[in-house]
Amino acid sequence: MDLLLIALLFFLVAIGAGFLGSLAGLGGGVILVPILVIGFHVDFVLAVGASAISVLATSTAAGATYVHDHLTDLRIGMFLEIATVPGALIGATITIYLAKLGLYPVLFVTLGVVLLSTIPGSFLRHRSEVPEGVVPDRRARTLGLGGSYHDRNLGREVPYMAASTRPALGVMFGAGLVAGMFGIGSGVLKVLALDGALRLPMKVSTATSNFMIGVTAAAGAGVLLAAGYMNPVIAAPVALGTTVGSLAGSRILPGLRNEVVRYVFLVLMAVLAVELIARGLGYA
């Protein structure tokens, strides 16, 4: 098949993944690797590289808006990057090692399991917009991990502080590891740390998670790029498509964000995950 046609298909598929992922609140990157590997027979590590570049592009686009609107907590974001970045470096290294050893089935099964475990995690976020009774730990007080933002819906300034920083760092390391291994944003794990452990208001949590996803993706992408596992003819149309799709999903059609879209996306993710596991175990 001509490369031009394949590049166009990559672009269109990435638009769909970015659009659906954005509406589902999970990001399109999470299904890009299985689509590229299963649908287009792209090498697993090259697909991870393309996905990492697309996650980088979409998080940079959204991150710039959140930072501009002062919704991102710069201190908390940069504090947690101390855990996500080493995780991503180790994750990318593991993937390259496993690929060099020819252990692709391990990568297939692991990604399948990660995708399946993301599904129940995506239902975790059902709590109040602004948590109350937050008791910041000593580290949060020392580093000044907190602030305030203006909530347009509530019509007031909302103060907040980070609660338990130690478990948040642990979860963030895991999020970085998974992000580095598979070129995904690991948004569910990040939400677990920011909402669950740090108990940040939802808007700050979303914005700060996006802020960190960019640096985490850059850590993994930098390793893959320097190790020769990036092909721009694959990565560029995928990154452009995902960015267009996610921007369309988040800005043009916000009214479509509902549970039906979310369930469609989760079913698609589950099918891809099962297919990956079946391939890894030699059943497909």
């Binding site: 590049a7 992408a221 092909n231």
Partner: protein, 144 residues
């Protein structure tokens, strides 16, 4: 800590001093410029690539290692000087990967200006780790 006092139901008494507004504005500009630059390079590179090689197949691409050579800066510069689309695409990827690094550098600058020694050190550590990954770890893994 700032003098702002949150209501008692929040569970804490005072808020940290916020970073200056220009820290947020500068970071937003860094991210936007980096993204726009890389998107422009991707679009130009892809258009030129397919104008020059309309009949290239996926097998040709898989068989060649043409992008690896642009990891050497002098080769990249020479490729860009000749308008090589693969060099332009590679520069787009380098720009995109470097954008968050530039954002971290910007953050470090503002933490230092704000006399936050611990946050400055943490940010510097993140920057060093990012550079180690791209400049040392990646090339090491390439030669395994």
């Amino acid at each position: 800590m700032s003098d702002e006092t949150p209501p008692p139901e929040y569970g804490f008494d005072r808020l940290p001093e916020p970073l200056p507004g220009r820290a947020y504005a500068t970071m937003a500009i860094v991210l936007r410029v980096g993204l726009l630059l890389s998107v422009a390079l991707f679009v130009i590179g892809l258009v030129l690539f397919f104008v020059e090689r309309p009949l290239e197949t996926i097998a040709d691409l898989a068989a060649s290692q043409r992008f690896l050579r642009f990891l050497v800066p002098s080769v990249l510069v020479a490729g860009l000087a000749h308008g090589d689309p693969t060099a332009i695409l590679s520069l787009g990827m380098f720009t995109l990967v470097a954008t968050p690094m530039a954002r971290v550098l910007t953050g470090m600058f503002y933490f230092r200006a704000h006399h936050e020694k611990v946050m400055t050190s943490l940010t510097l550590t993140v920057l060093i780790l990012l550079l180690v990954g791209s400049l040392l770890l990646g090339p090491y893994l390439a030669h395994l």
